[in-house]
Symmetry: C2
Subunit: 243 residues, 2 copies
C-alpha cells in the first residue's frame, strides 16, 4: 500500500490517495486520532472520479463518528483495465434497457458475478493493508455499493461486523441464496421508485437475509434520491455496531 497524495479537507479530515497492487483507493481519517479507530469501507458502483462527491460526503458521515473510511476502485472501472467479457455484459445490459426489456437473469449473472469474484478479494486485501496502519484498529463496517459484493463480503469476511447495503442494483439469483448465510447486523436502503430496480426483488432479498438484526429503510424517490438524513442514520447504525 503506497500513499500517493494527501490533503486536509476544510473540516480537518485527512484525505489520502493510495494504490494497492495497482488498484487506486482513498482513505479518510479524523483530524486527529489518539487511539486506533473503527473503519468503514465505502462501496460504490465503480468510477472513483465520477463518484467522488458522494463518496467524500459518505466518508465525512463516518469520520464525524470518529471512524476512518476507505474505498478502492472496482475492477474494470475508472482508470483500471477493462475486460472484454465485462464490456460485453454491459453492452447486453444497455441493449436490454434501451429496448425497454426486462433485464434477464443471464445478463445480470454475466454482469455481476464475475465482478463479485474479482472485487471481493481486492476489498479483503485492502482490509489487510488498512488494518496494519497504526491509526486503524477496527471493528469494520461495509457500506453501500454493488449489493452482491456487500453480501459476499458479509458472508466470507469475518472482520466485517455490520453492513449498510443499498438495494439499488441488479441482484444475481445466487445472491438470494447467499443472503441466507449473512448473520451480521444489516441496514438496507431501498429507493421506492428506483426505475432500474425491482422493488419486489429488493423486498425478497431483505426477507432472505439470515441476520437477527436487520432494518429496511425505504424512501420515496428514484435511484439517486436517497435523502440526506439517511447519511446520518447510516452513521448511527455503524456507531451502534462498531463502537
Amino acid at each position: 500500500m503506497r500513499f500517493t497524495s494527501e490533503q486536509r479537507l476544510d473540516d480537518g479530515v485527512l484525505e489520502r490517495d493510495f494504490t494497492l497492487n495497482e488498484i487506486p483507493g482513498i482513505l479518510w481519517t479524523p483530524a486527529s486520532v489518539s487511539a486506533p479507530v473503527p473503519l468503514v469501507l465505502v462501496g460504490h458502483p465503480g468510477g472513483l472520479g465520477k463518484m467522488y462527491p458522494r463518496l467524500v460526503s459518505r466518508a465525512r458521515d463516518s469520520v464525524a463518528e470518529g471512524f476512518a473510511a476507505a474505498t478502492i476502485e472496482l475492477p474494470g472501472s475508472g482508470d483500471r483495465p477493462r475486460s472484454a467479457a465485462a464490456e460485453e455484459a454491459r453492452a447486453g445490459l444497455r441493449r436490454a434497457l434501451r429496448a425497454g426489456e426486462t433485464v434477464g437473469d443471464e445478463i445480470v449473472d454475466r454482469l455481476v458475478l464475475p465482478l463479485v469474484e474479482r472485487a471481493v478479494p481486492e476489498w479483503q486485501a485492502a482490509l489487510d493493508a488498512l488494518l496494519t496502519l497504526p491509526e486503524i484498529g477496527g471493528p469494520v463496517g461495509f457500506s453501500g455499493g454493488v449489493i452482491a459484493v456487500g453480501v459476499r463480503l458479509a458472508v466470507v469476511e469475518p472482520r466485517i461486523s455490520a453492513a449498510l447495503l443499498f438495494a439499488g442494483s441488479f441482484v444475481p439469483r445466487a445472491t438470494f441464496e447467499e443472503a441466507r448465510r449473512v448473520t451480521i447486523p444489516l441496514q438496507v436502503l431501498l429507493q421506492w421508485d428506483d426505475e432500474g430496480n425491482d422493488r419486489q426483488a429488493a423486498l425478497d432479498l431483505f426477507d432472505a437475509f439470515g441476520s437477527r438484526e436487520k432494518t429496511l429503510h425505504a424512501n420515496l424517490g428514484g435511484h439517486t434520491g436517497v435523502p440526506w438524513f439517511e447519511g446520518e442514520d447510516g452513521a448511527r447504525f455503524f456507531a451502534r455496531h462498531l463502537k
Copy 2:
C-alpha cells in the same frame, strides 16, 4: 381540561394527568420550559394503564428533544364506557383469530371505522385544549397508535405537521383511499414478522400515501419487538419536522 395530578419523573420531566370531557389523558413536559414548545400526540391501541410503560418511554424520547408529549384514552378502552357494537366487533375478531381464519374486511371495518369516527374528534378537542397552555406552541406531530386514526388525523387536521405511523394494526379498505390524500411527511414503522399483521397490506399502504417525503422503517421481529433505536429515530424524525 382539568389537571387531576402531577409528578416529577426521575429525569425532571413533569407528568400531569388530566381529564377533558371525561376522557382521561396524560401530558409530559420538559423539566423547564422557557418558550412554547412543539407537541407530539402519542397514539396507542387503547388502555392507558396497561400501555403506560411504553407510552412514558415514547414520551421521554420526545421530551428529550425539547417537545411536550400528550395522550388521551381511546373510546371504549381503559375506564371509558364500552359500546355494545364495539364489543361485538371485538368478539368477532377474537373468534376469527382463535379459529385461525383470515380476519375479513367486514370485521375490520366494524372494528376500526367507528373507532376512527369517535376518536379523531376527541384528539382534535385535546389538541384545542393543549394548544391553549402557555408552555405548548406547536407545531404538532402524531405518533403511532391505531394507523387508521393516524391517517384520518393526517388528512383532516391541518395543525398536524408530521406523523410517525405504526403499520401494525388492521387497516380498513377505506383507509387505503384516505392514504392517498395524506401529504405531510411520514415515517412508517413495520415489524417484518408481525403475526397479526398483513405485511403486503402494510407495504401497499406505504405505497398509497400521497406524501412526497415518506420513509418506511421495517425491522425483524414481531408486533411488540420494535427495537429501541426506533424511539430515537422517531424523535429525530420529529426534530426534523417540528423545529
